[in-house]
Amino acid sequence: MIGIVGATGSGKSTLAQLIPRLYDPTDGEVCVGGVNLKEVNEKSLRATVSFVLQRAILFSGNISDNLRQGKKAASNQDLKRAAEIAQAAEFIDQYDDGFEHLVEERSANFSGGQKQRLSIARGVVGSPKILILDDSTSALDARSEKLVQEALDNELSGTTTFVIAEKISSVIHADRILVLDGGKLVGVGSHKELLKSSPIYTEIYETQKAKRGN
């Protein structure tokens, strides 16, 4: 798990958008598995990289239609597992029609948090090799966020996960954390290493710890 932290506007989302090749770099190259993305077959890239956006967007249809956008051939078991990882199973189970429950136009029948969970479920249903969570848990309560992270650790242990977060606490257990500031990488390392090596990281951490109030 790789964490990406930094101030608003520091370029976290921009960096993340280069991995699924939503944009091509002006200069330099992005390599996945050692291969330049410009030379990678698009289909195989999409199957390898899954990107969960900050703004959860669902399409009209039903829940399973939406989740299967992550993997067309997903079995019911796959859907169930993805929903459990994303902590969406708890509300899906409450519907009489379960995964067949209708997603209305503009997904008006789901709350912000429910949409985010379904969006995460869609991202993980295909067990991608690379998963990018771009502040995708912003509308989740802390308990759910924690459960999602734990489930990702257990269920998708072979997946490289990029977590873009505002809170250091969201990435504190990451194997490596990238610290961005004004479009530059100013620190790389584990939480402990960064506390020693990166003053910017330490400052963010201290501010957040102080705000926590205890």
Partner: protein
């Protein structure tokens, strides 16, 4: 038929202010029709005079007195009438174009203004594409119909009546012969039209659905790209497109059949008229010259006689589309508007506070979201609403600003039910920072001044400073005059939120609603916002909906919402010591933090 009635009512409501122009159009059309139907009779007369002249000229006894003058006179009259027909037609079409352009302009204004008065519910339940097609498709159809079809209808009807009148004036028997095939023509036209109508309706529906699909897909383009769903997206487009194609094709086949059929029928009728006409002349022993003139006149009339039938049936498509358009527009006009009480009380400031009293509410009748929620926000207090996803937090906010009306219970400002408050005064005093901060195209300054366009430069800069976005703005090359063209380009999510906060600060609201306003920004920015908000909140009554417990630690009161019910409320300490749901939530967050 109900549709047609509604369409006529809709048109009438917009056309009645142009009654002077319209009356003029009708009069000119009648005059024009008179010239048009009268002209062939001079043609007949010219032929008769010519035949007379030739007869006299050929006859040695009358050779000397043969004169072409009557022939020239008839020819002159015929020319004059044709020219007058053209001129009056031009005037009538000029006037009617002007009326239809003005009327559809007013319809567009009416529609847009109506949309701005609609409830949030309408926008929540209708796709953007559907709403947009009211402007792009329905209004266009109406304009086309008004511009061509309706006035065509008027002039063709006048022509029809005029020709019949003239025919009976010229020769009763031949008039009957010309009209004999009318029932056949009408039956054929009616059968074809009713088939075409079915497909035209289907075409409209299919187009609406297709636009909705396109809109949704484009809106979710990032998902489509990252999930590699482009092919699926195109595949999903196919059936929509196929339906549009099929319906358009079938509709066009049927309506396209009409014209050649009517044309054929008209030619057949022409042959009958000529045949019967010559038989009549011979059997009644009519004068040769007069008979020849009569035949020419009726050849003309029989062709003109079919013109209204063909025209009216071929513009039927257009009329049908216009009727459908008018129905959809009048549906929109019948939608609920935001109810502004007639003499609603003005809200000047908040004196005692805001209360929610035993509120029951659901977006649809069969699913209640809030089951008897009561919350008291005293003046100057900051109340925080917390609760798990889907507990109804956003719904509470929707009710506080009267986006929706409660099913039962009441929302009260200073003890007055908000349904009795003047809506504008309510909204003027309520400031909201939503989850999604929306920027409009324009400059940064325009965006900050959005809620208070008359604010001074100084006030605007102060608001930006309080929102901690001033430094960033002045660091941009064009400063406050920076153009916001693409929502995502210059500003990050956090910065957009700061701008939205500056916008809210500038409106100086007495009551503040914050919906997770600080959840999308990094902690440094969040700290800035928090500091700014602390200043804004001071002296204001505020209501914060947040998932992050730390942002609400400073609240005077915390209300815990779960499954549409208030399960706990009180101060942070009181709730912690109670050891209930809040304390569990809090400890979980802290463990996680």
């Amino acid at each position: 038929m109900v549709d047609v009635k509604r369409a006529i009512k809709y048109f009438a409501s917009y056309l009645k202010q142009y009654w002077i122009s319209l009356t003029f159009v009708v009069v000119i059309t009648i005059v024009s029709t008179y010239f048009q139907v009268k002209a062939p009779s001079y043609m007949g007369k010219a032929i008769t005079e010519l035949a007379n002249y030739l007869g006299q000229y050929m006859n040695p006894t009358t050779h000397a007195i043969a004169s072409k003058t009557p022939f020239y006179h008839a020819l002159e009259s015929m020319m004059l009438f044709f020219i007058l027909t053209a001129i009056t037609m031009f005037i009538s079409s000029f006037l009617s174009s002007r009326v239809s352009a003005q009327a559809s302009g007013r319809m567009r204004i009416g529609l847009f203004a109506k949309l701005q008065r609609m409830t949030i519910k309408y926008f929540d339940t209708h796709r953007d594409g559907e709403i947009l097609s009211l402007f792009t498709s329905d209004l266009d159809n109406i304009f086309n119909a008004m511009n061509q079809a309706i006035f065509q209808l008027l002039s063709q009807f006048a022509l029809f009546v005029g020709i019949i009148w003239m025919m009976f004036d010229q020769n009763v028997k031949l008039a009957w012969v010309t009209m004999a095939s009318t029932p056949v023509a009408i039956i054929i036209a009616w059968v074809i039209i009713s088939r075409a109508r079915h497909f035209i309706d289907a075409q409209q529906d299919a187009t609406g659905n297709m636009n909705g699909y396109i809109n949704e897909q484009i809106n979710g383009e990032k998902i489509i790209i990252t999930q590699g769903l482009q092919e699926e997206s195109i595949a999903g487009f196919m059936p929509h497109n196929e339906k549009v194609k099929q319906a358009t094709f079938k509709g066009q086949v049927y309506s396209g059949m009409l014209f050649p059929l009517m044309q054929g029928l008209s030619l057949l009728n022409l042959a009958i008229v000529i045949f019967f006409g010559s038989w009549l002349i011979v059997s009644e022993g009519m004068d040769k010259a007069v008979g020849l003139g009569l035949i020419v006149v009726f050849v003309n009339y029989s062709q003109q006689y079919y013109q209204p039938i063909t025209q009216i049936t071929s513009i039927y498509n257009m009329l049908q589309l216009a009727v459908t358009g008018a129905r959809r527009l009048s549906d929109v006009h019948d939608q609920d508007e935001e109810i502004n009480p007639a003499d609603g009380q003005e809200l000047s400031s908040i004196k005692s506070g805001v209360t929610l009293e035993n509120i029951h509410f659901g977006y649809t009748a069969d699913k209640e979201i809030l089951h008897g929620v009561s919350i008291q926000v005293d003046k100057g207090e900051m109340v925080a609403l917390v609760g798990p996803t889907g507990s109804g937090k956003t719904t509470v906010m929707n009710l506080l600003n009267r986006f929706y009306d409660v099913d039962d219970g009441a929302v009260k400002f200073d003890g007055v039910d908000i349904r009795h408050l003047d809506l504008k005064s309510l909204r003027d005093h309520v400031g909201i920072v939503l989850q999604d901060s929306v920027l409009f195209s324009g400059t940064v300054a325009d965006n900050i001044k959005f809620g208070a366009p008359k604010a001074t430069e100084e006030d605007m800069i102060n608001a930006a400073k309080q929102a901690n976005i001033h430094e960033f703005i002045v660091s941009l090359p064009a400063g406050y005059q920076t153009i916001v063209d693409d929502e995502n380009s210059v500003f990050s999510t956090g910065q957009k939120q700061l701008l939205a906060i500056a916008r809210t600060i500038l409106t100086n609201p007495a009551f503040l609603i914050l919906d997770e306003a600080t959840s999308n920004v990094d902690t440094v920015t969040e700290a800035r916002i928090q500091a700014a908000m602390d200043n804004v909140i001071a002296g204001r009554t505020s209501f914060v909906i947040a998932h992050r417990l730390k942002t609400i630690l400073g609240a005077d009161k915390i209300v815990v919402l779960k499954d549409g019910k208030v399960i706990e409320q009180g101060s942070h300490e009181a709730l912690l010591s109670k050891g209930g749901f809040y304390s569990e939530l809090y400890h979980n967050q802290m463990v996680f933090d």
